[in-house]
Symmetry: C2
Subunit: 93 residues, 2 copies
Amino acid sequence: MKELNPLLHSQLRLAIMSILMNVEEADFVYLKEKTESTAGNLSVQLDKLSSAGYISVEKGMSGKRPRTICAVTKAGREAFEEYVEALRTYLNL
Amino acid sequence: MKELNPLLHSQLRLAIMSILMNVEEADFVYLKEKTESTAGNLSVQLDKLSSAGYISVEKGMSGKRPRTICAVTKAGREAFEEYVEALRTYLNL
DNA sequence: CGAAATGGTTTATAAAATAAACCAAATGTA
DNA sequence: TACATTTGGTTTATTTTATAAACCATTTCG
């Protein structure tokens, strides 16, 4: 049986990737709302995806407030597609 | 976003369920070979699925050797289907 | 007989996920 | 103006999970 990329096989990271696959870019606050995660958990998981090169994370300012913008990278897109393919064999979809 | 049943969202348990969904029944040795897991890990995960009522585990004898036979239950089948549905929304399949 | 294989279980360890505590800047409020 | 609160996070601690290592009883092989 195919291996399921452990970096993607995590509810929150998968949710993050799932959102980013459909959206060009998304900021921290949006991801937090959509995934209903705590800020701490989100921060940690974004770091992991970023370290793996699956997403880009730009920390900037929006007016006077900090704003973190995330987007999926090419590598992330590819990893996600592969993960989906592997899962298909489990779910027989 | 939908919750992903954590009992099923585990590589090995998902593999076990995936096999059992297509096979009427399967014994310990068969599951071990198919999933390429260690006996210890398999034993633990079978217990969890069994405790959740997702599979039945019958410990008997085949000639002189022990033989553990597993099969998915109705509850297991339903949980699996739900899990698949939830995943679809993540993967947009 | 003693050594290895079979079919497991139990217990310990490593790795994850999650939550709690914290921080700096901005804003609201008495 | 000062003090509490909110915003947007990060860091660290705790809990949960997954995995592996050690073990056990029985059986079979040399």
